[in-house]
Symmetry: C2
Subunit: 413 residues, 2 copies
């Protein structure tokens, strides 16, 4: 079934907001055998009408995101009603839900708010649990006089669209998509190995299997490897990938490294503390994004200044003077200090030069030391070189630190 | 000049990676009077050929991103050479740059790497300082026998595309775009105020100005307000917006709240420490993303466990027993503890219930206390309620905390 996603919003084309819907919706619909065959971003106004007019004949399912809110640039609802020749009616139940939501949050209404309760005749309302504007579903040929595909109008903010998609849209899709479309898909996530090294290890053998699609997505210090195809071919490819890449695969389940670590620590009833210098809180932020992190994560000491390293982690102040803050002995002492301080099973420390300034010939920007202290083994230290922009440097260092801990938890270091 | 962006990559349509190029490129080209009039995402393979074939006649400038890498799904270079009837030749200078890059990083080459040095005859090579695959620029009608627009082939990873765009693409665009296209654009960033409240304050008056486009982009606890149009109208709108919204505008320069805070603290030669519970390191991560943060940021104590609050911040342990960890007295004591410990001018503390679990009737998930300790004034505390998913909750709390500090630095609290 040819499926199209239209993201509306001048703010997208002007670069004031980044689309997250393509990625989210694709993941959701793939198990149904659906793919987004085409995605477009169009500005507010008549362009939405033109795109819909053109795609009404080519698509069987259309998702439209955005333009359902209260402000003057939100006109998706009105354009669709007009295109399909349907009357807009104010829906009492929607109006009540909007009023209740506003009063719970002590937000007063404005005269534009009620527009969001307007519903084209024949449309099904999709409840929005995280915002005021509901979604709308218009079934294929909802107005028998006008040919149209299945049409889903969804809110722009991801935190509103995503729960609505899981709770309402998916069950509608299941009822309209034939079961025969199903495809298999596997995902393998690998940290600290480049995509061309991975391709060299597995590419030729995998591509020799008929009908298998192989794709790579490179992120900072991470490659996501994906295969798609008929079940039998996917199973053959899976066996090859597992035998060649083995334990360097950290997830086959779309988990992040931090999710894997929280899961492993929870299973082992162990705890973690962090001593962060150059990562500046990113390790802690990533760990605490995982629901249930509080069972394993005790504390992070983000010691950006040298004084803070000495005060919070109990470093001997001569150590920094002797070796410099970016050095293996300091990384080790930070990890050990954090572990002792938080009384955790493990502690990871990072110290490095994010840049753009602060580098030297001996220690250029991008140099970083990572250390892992634990109860049962001597502290492990590793040096890396990630010459990059500031945020990529932080992300790569976080990957290196988490991968070191993951290997330790699998007793590979 | 009609400008189109084509993002290639099955990984985009499958949702394995999120596009960042539309947003970035739009921002870059707007001052030249260019907008992305249409954006499409297409899968690898023949779809790129079809899209280009179709858009060659409709567009004057086309940006294509992705498909220039070493792996088997990277075929943009080959397809463009074929469409334009140009021979692909291996470029020695590019090959040398690739080899040098790999050896600097101690990465060994594979037999697929050299493909990235293939260049269509007549194309201009755009140096890639952050990856192996260079970009390519093919001028309008580069092959006189085939009509074609200005065509830019750019690498997929944002950390490679972005510096290339600023350094090479922009200067080419300046030479091909007429100066008469220029538009004015203003951006206003406002924290902790909803978009319909802002629209009520300014919408009617702004929309009464002819030719002015008004747009809103809502993020967690932040609204970006944008106006675009002829210079005179934009100036009139600007005066209205500034008089109505005043100091609640935290940036007119596309800065983040943390950039504004680092700038203000740097000007004042003051320092900040953080005591984070529910934000779990996000405040520190955001602050340390700002280049130069080390001049003002001393330390963050991410005290997730109660023991860590007592140990690292010196809280009287009875305080948590008496009021609970999520309470105003604990937030105040955390801020004061962090400030004393780090000997900073200010300290911000956050303690709340991110959810989904851990709430109660009295303190439902979403409840959060923020406190700000300073040298010159009694500690300030605020209570907020952000019922939301975990990551949005963290972001909203960070906004509330940073906005409290920003107002303090402008002596508004």
């Amino acid at each position: 079934m040819r499926t199209v996603l239209i993201n509306t919003g001048t703010e997208l084309l002007l670069g004031d907001v980044q689309d997250k819907h393509l990625s989210f919706i694709s993941h959701q619909i793939l198990p149904l055998g659906l793919r987004i065959d085409e995605q477009r971003t169009v500005p507010d106004g008549t362009a939405i009408r033109d795109a819909l007019n053109e795609l009404f004949l080519r698509a069987e399912i259309i998702f439209v995101t955005g333009g359902l809110g209260p402000t003057s640039d939100d006109i998706t609802r009105e354009i669709v009603a007009e295109l399909l020749g349907l009357e807009l009616r104010r829906d009492d139940a929607v109006m009540t839900a909007i009023s209740e939501r506003l009063s719970k949050r002590s937000i007063r209404s404005t005269n534009r708010i009620p527009r969001q309760a307007d519903v084209p005749a024949g449309a099904r309302v999709l409840t929005n649990e995280n915002g005021t504007a509901p979604g709308l579903y218009l079934r294929k040929d909802v107005n028998p006089r006008i040919r149209s595909p299945h049409l889903f109008l969804l809110p722009g903010p991801p935190r509103e669209l995503q729960p609505m998609f899981c709770e309402s849209v998916m069950s509608i899709l299941r009822s309209i998509v034939p079961a025969s479309l199903k495809l298999s898909r596997r995902l393998y996530k690998i940290a600290m190995t480049g995509e061309s090294i991975i391709e060299e290890a597995i590419g030729e053998e995998i591509l020799a299997i008929p009908g298998i699609e192989l794709g790579y997505c490179a992120r900072p210090a991470e490659v996501d490897l994906r295969i798609i195809g008929e079940a039998a071919g996917v199973d053959r490819a899976d066996a090859i990938i597992r035998s060649k890449l083995g334990s360097s695969i950290f997830s086959t389940n779309d988990e992040s490294l931090e999710e894997v670590i929280v899961k492993l620590l929870t299973e082992r009833k162990e705890t973690i503390a962090l001593a962060e210098s150059c990562t500046g809180g990113l390790l802690a932020h990533r760990i605490t994004n995982v629901p249930g992190a509080s069972a394993v994560f005790l504390a992070a000491y983000v010691t950006y200044s040298n004084d803070a390293k000495v005060d919070a982690l109990g470093l001997v102040s001569d150590l920094i003077k002797k070796h410099g803050a970016v050095s293996e002995p300091v990384a080790r002492a930070m990890a050990e200090g954090a572990r002792a301080r938080a009384r955790s099973t493990y502690a990871i420390a990072t110290t490095g030069i994010a840049g753009p300034t602060g580098g030297s010939v001996e220690k250029p920007a991008g140099t970083v030391h990572v250390a892992l202290a634990s109860t049962d083994q001597e502290t492990i230290a590793r040096r890396f070189f990630f010459p990059s922009d500031r945020e990529t440097f932080k992300q790569m260092t976080a990957q290196a630190a988490f991968e070191l801990l993951r290997k330790k938890l699998r007793t590979e270091v």
